[in-house]
């Protein structure tokens, strides 16, 4: 079977769940081969976890400056790996970084780029959802190597233990005139909550939350359901919650099993970011709010009464059962 290269998302110590999903997706096309870009020693730390999830080879593209520059080391590493392995496809996670890496790689290789795939079949046909969930599109790469950015959460991560071979890729030195250096990083302070785009439950607040303090109600419900917190653009613009939690056309697209919208009216831009959620619950005082029309379960009522009651009830049922 040909190799399918998977770019590993990691924090230096742990592999992100989205990478395990890519390994699952890659198995449909060939033998998953993981490419680890990082400082020396990173691949050795991650290898066991990658092999447990089915990576038959681990390519180590390591250099002391690998983490210091935005995207360029990953693009260089994948380009090197492609020239060495001649893979059947390259898969990356459709994150902010991943989409840019995929694009730059595709341009360098004159390859075909598919972004935001939510499914993939064994012939490499990708399913995408476009225009904020109003169309399902099936596309394939017809020229050059398929470079596919897969939306996190679209595939199940599976344990599939194999023996992984390890190989080194010699990263070229980074051209400082052509690369942006990362001089500081601040992690998102999400506490123990799952990452928004990867969460199976998302609880979002809108203008109806009526203030930064009101978001405690949203957070408490999210915690009771072990979910992530999101916010509508109106709530973000009003300063109730930080921008990186914005769900919608100009924020993040989410597709969780359960999406709970609290005090969100349902502007088309917001719906574009969450319409593909499996089950939608909406709570809004305004019986005319558009989001109530597309919710699987709509509550006309005060979120400050409904959400805490729901959170308490979930906690109580968990304890009982």
């Amino acid at each position: 079977m040909p190799d399918v290269l998977v770019l590993v998302d990691h924090d230096g110590e742990r592999v992100h769940k989205s990478t395990y999903e890519l390994l699952t997706a890659a198995r449909r096309l060939g033998d998953p081969a993981a490419v680890v870009v990082g400082t020396p020693g990173t691949a050795a730390r991650l290898k066991e976890a990658l092999a447990r999830h089915g990576a038959t080879s681990v390519y180590a593209a390591e250099s002391p400056e690998a983490g210091e520059f935005l995207s360029t080391p990953a693009v260089d590493a994948l380009e090197l790996a492609v020239r060495e392995v001649s893979p059947a496809a390259v898969l990356v996670s459709a994150t902010t970084d991943g989409k840019e890496v995929a694009g730059r790689l595709a341009a360098r290789l004159d390859a075909g780029l598919l972004v935001d795939a939510v499914d993939l079949d064994s012939s490499g046909v990708a399913t995408q959802v476009v225009f904020g969930g109003s169309y399902t599109v099936r596309s394939q790469v017809t020229h050059g190597l398929p470079v596919i950015a897969v939306r996190p959460g679209s595939f199940e991560s599976e344990e599939r233990p194999v023996e992984a071979g390890e190989r080194q890729l010699a990263l070229p030195p980074v051209d400082r005139a052509a690369s942006a250096r990362i001089t500081a990083r601040r992690a998102v302070l999400a506490g123990d909550r799952p990452e928004l785009t990867e969460a199976t439950v998302v609880v979002s607040g809108g203008r109806g939350v009526a203030g930064a303090d009101g978001f405690k109600v949203v957070e408490e419900l999210a915690d009771a359901l072990r979910g992530a917190v999101g916010a509508s653009r109106a709530a973000v613009d009003a300063g109730y919650y930080p921008h990186q939690y914005q769900v919608g056309q100009t924020g993040k697209s989410v597709s969780p099993q359960l999406y709970i919208a609290l005090g969100i009216s349902g502007a088309i831009q917001h719906l574009a970011g969450m319409r593909t959620s499996k089950t939608i619950v909406a709570v809004n005082k305004d019986p005319e709010a558009p989001i109530l029309e597309l919710a699987d379960y709509a509550v006309v009522g005060d979120l400050f009464a409904v959400a805490p009651q729901l959170a308490q009830e979930v906690a109580a049922r968990r304890e009982a059962g």
């Binding site: 935005l70 902010t96 989409k99 840019e100 995929a102 694009g103 730059r104 341009a107 360098r108 004159d110 075909g112 780029l113 598919l114 972004v115 935001d116 959802v129 476009v130 225009f131 904020g132 109003s134 169309y135 790469v141 017809t142 020229h143 400082r176 005139a177 052509a178 690369s179 942006a180 250096r181 990362i182 001089t183 500081a184 990083r185 921008h243 056309q249 100009t250 359960l258 088309i268 831009q269 574009a272 319409r275 089950t279 619950v281 019986p287 109530l292 029309e293 597309l294 919710a295 699987d296 709509a298 509550v299 006309v300 009522g301 009464a305 959400a307 009651q309 009830e313 979930v314 049922r317």
Partner: protein, 260 residues
Amino acid sequence: MNIVVLVKQVPDTAAERTLSEADHTLDRENADLVLDEINERAAEEALMLKETVGAEVTVVSMGPGSALDAIRKVLAMGADRGIHICDDRLRGTDVVTTAKVLAAAVRTVEDVDLVLAGNATTDGQASAVPAIVADLLGLPQLTHARELTVDAGRVRAEREAENGEATLDAPLPALVSVTEKINEPRYPSFKGIMAAKRKPVETVDLDDLFPDVDDTGLLVSRTHVMEAVPRPARAAGIRVTDDGSAGRRLVDYLIAQKLV
């Protein structure tokens, strides 16, 4: 300083968007076309630099005849000149070719210090074009910036991504893509709209941008849309009015759906 701003005309996200049945490209005839909102913020950032450090601002857009409206709007905001890439052969082109064509247009501007773009367009949302243009031009990419500083031949940006924030630093020339958080774009004044009519806009096609190559290599279609199916509208589900017990009843629903 020479600044190039890349802008795109897109269907208004506040309206319904449809794909043509014939070739699955955007049905432009039935769409309200507007200058993409995030691009407007990229233009605003260029104009603020023009006011603070002095700059010649060139606005570049690829698209059919109507894209001229998007260029004129940025000229009305205060940009100096426009380049309109207009060529029927570019209809429905993929992300990689789009970036190659935009990069070629940027190369026609002399001594470019800064290329500015929006971080994503609201129609395609691939969010990859600015990074590809940077790669093709050999420029550092400072993408998804919610804050930008240009000083002493260097550019610094605060980048926002789902895994956290980062401060980026690079020498000029560089490419920066901005998020919608970066600023509030100005409205063109009446005077600006009148002045924009006299500002130069150069219309170029593929033969102008790539005089030495035939278009077969450039325009080769790398991807093919096999099928585009409108998704069924979500039907309204259960609707209740809270009588003081909605939260408790909702739990029963969530348990029945195996969501709790």
